[in-house]
Symmetry: C2
Subunit: 521 residues, 2 copies
Amino acid sequence: MAVAAEDEGRRKRAGGRAGHARRAGTHAIEQMSWRIPQNHDRPTEPMGPDGVLAIHNGAMRILRDIGIRFLNDEALAIFRQAGCKVEGNTVFMDEAFVMEMLGRCPEQFTLTPRNPARALPIGGKALLFGNVSSPPNYWDLETGKVPGFMEGFRSFMKLTQYFNCIHFAGGYPVEPVDVHASVRHLDCLYEKLVLTDKVVHAYSLGAERIEDAMQMVRIAGGMTEEEFRARPHMYTNINSVSPLKHDHPMIDGALRCARAGQAVIVTPFTLAGAMAPVTLSGAVTLSIAEALSAIALIQYAAPGAPCVIGTFTSNVDMKSGAPAFGTPEYMRATQMTGQMARFYKLPLRSSGVCAANVPDGQAMWETSNSLWAAVQSGTHMVYHAAGWLEGGLIASPEKFVMDCEVLQMIQRYMEPATWATTPEDIAIEAIAEVGPEGHYFGCQHTQERYTTAFYAPIASDWRNFEAWQQDGALQTPERAHRIFKAILAEFEPPPMDAGVHEELKEFVARRKAEGGAPTDF
Amino acid sequence: MAVAAEDEGRRKRAGGRAGHARRAGTHAIEQMSWRIPQNHDRPTEPMGPDGVLAIHNGAMRILRDIGIRFLNDEALAIFRQAGCKVEGNTVFMDEAFVMEMLGRCPEQFTLTPRNPARALPIGGKALLFGNVSSPPNYWDLETGKVPGFMEGFRSFMKLTQYFNCIHFAGGYPVEPVDVHASVRHLDCLYEKLVLTDKVVHAYSLGAERIEDAMQMVRIAGGMTEEEFRARPHMYTNINSVSPLKHDHPMIDGALRCARAGQAVIVTPFTLAGAMAPVTLSGAVTLSIAEALSAIALIQYAAPGAPCVIGTFTSNVDMKSGAPAFGTPEYMRATQMTGQMARFYKLPLRSSGVCAANVPDGQAMWETSNSLWAAVQSGTHMVYHAAGWLEGGLIASPEKFVMDCEVLQMIQRYMEPATWATTPEDIAIEAIAEVGPEGHYFGCQHTQERYTTAFYAPIASDWRNFEAWQQDGALQTPERAHRIFKAILAEFEPPPMDAGVHEELKEFVARRKAEGGAPTDF
């Protein structure tokens, strides 16, 4: 790891191939500039107000009468202190308590990473995309499917940094199993913080890991402890253990983050027909109850802590039990959860997901379905927005590039220029000038606008069949593979102050010498 | 052609392989039942009321001040009679005339084909899909790209009939250039009417062709002339010659259809930056003006004739001039046209389109974008919904099957069960019963519902990577190809009365003997 990081440093100092390419003015792709897309579409809301209330009332009944298990003694003590009924490790909370706690959540907040130019507003109309997170396996056209490895992890971090349409660096894009689990979080966070300057996520997998991550984010940002805690710079994502449970390390990490002023996303993983009811509103109700129980805990312990409600409700294939993603049921569940998030005034996280094993047609219709569901639901943070395959068991760089094409198109779709109706847009003068026999390409109105009038693709091939065939008949994943390799070749990490970099390396070295984190989870 | 049709007859009488397969209870796929999906989503409306008015006012200025050329003397005479200013072949019409004519259009109507069970309500919430229409070329995994041929045409007609999610048989799915142009329309309509019992389209390519088509639809339905003219049984689609022109045969065919009580779709083909302004609202304004001018003509000539406004506004690639489809600009233009269609109270036609040359990832993100735009725009008839490639230059059976998966998912997405919130859906009792340690698969609530709870795919593979790999690692187009072949193997044409079939064959034979239609277009 240290060697790899120094390679980066050398390449940057020496210029090298990437530096040369940049000086020569060539780029792997002509991509869209960094921006915070604003979702201007009115959300798609399948349920009426009575449906929203039915889910709310159902969630409140679950929290009051059925209870949620917290496998975390600190959480149980906090709930007791708050006056909730606690029997064994099951907590019962009433609506008044839950709604009071939800009232403490900010509707919007800002995540500020080490590069303040990459600060992310969470909530409102902002629609943000993150890289694929947590697959154990790596797949590309050259290697096929292999277990996650650190160089693959680094490749994804480079893609995450390179693509302007990727706003935040989520969990590990692949789990690098070639690094020992006791120190993996140190190496991974180090690579993340050096290779990107975007908002990073840290896993809640035990006290040491999340505390190390917070220290490293603090050091990378050149902050004092006080500065770090003054506002959110990073976030963790916790999952409930559906049905009806929260486990120890996730809740522990969430409390640590929230008390340090950092953001927490609470995302139940409720597969309808498996760990949730087979009916979609039932699965959403369970998910909402589980999420609200954790957010209530966080708000009691750290009032006003930035929280996001996540949805990961999909269905299983009832023939095989395999999870399905990007299905019609997934889309409706996401939209319904969006309605509930607005009811509770919480920012929303959903995902860009598919069940396909390779980046083919199925992968793209499933991913398109899930990404459009994110848009339609009013989602603020889209997890796994680029690179996900096989229901989250594979991360693929080709899929990453292909998904970024779709994300860029969504960003362009959100530009008000696409529906503007000023007199210059309506263009009556140009229509009169061109008349019935002319062509618009040559007219002044077109010449003034054509370079920026339309979305310019990165991986799409819009040539006719013969031109495409003559150029090798490359299908989408092959084109994406070439783009991936070209990006790696020209990649340069974002600048980092030498003293900060040194401090970060020292922190990693010291914590490794101390043995890292326990691996008994 | 006659031989091919008799083959069908023989196979049907003898049972044969297809009959055997059916008796044995095997099917190529387990598909969704026939239904008229209802679009329950509130349309996505990027423009405010001022934007709608800006386009309306722009269109009215074009019609009043710039004028539309009608390269059809009958149309010019009709406009003169209506009191419009006509200079040469340019017609100028004022808002009062246009709006009065639009007021004659039915907001909804029904198309009734030879099988009344396949009747289609046009307008309202109904969302209907048609097959790919008009590509000159055929592509499949075996043959590659070849010019259209009659057996390929027949294959697509079988897919059109087979798939319950395809509601109408649009134009020729491929142009069969192995049949002489003078008699092609006779053979094509014959095959269409024998191989399907769904609503058919007929091209407006000269008086003989459209009159022959109407006669054949009448005969296939066993109708008298009076019965045929009493209500719409078929439709034509006409395109303007953008900018600002309508040509002779299209207008002639539209008038013949409308006067015979049949439906007319008016679809300008306005590529922004080529034959329309580079700005999207400008391209939409031009498209609206061209469409309304033809609809006004039709309503003056045949008051109350069923009309549909079509959109085919997309953009070109400004580097190459190649048309692009399924782009963000395409989506917004479709949504904006939807707003205008509701403003004028006209049913809307849009399309399922892409620029990709093969059925890969790009094909599916572009097609998904255009199909979701159809949903979001409140489209009633989706042309080219299955099988389109290369910007309409290729029809592909694999793409047809893949698109039908997406169409079925949209149909499922529109089922109110996916967002129902009855107490049985919220499922509190099941959540209490399963508790925090159980699994939902075994519970009564699941057992009662699991067979119909979720969308069941036809071409998607939801197995994990290893199971998929062991089974041949087939990518989506390969799976779709197998399905295509299995459907051909088991296909049986819908029943047709022997006397009607005989009359249809006699009509075709007589018209062929008369020389068919002129080929000087």
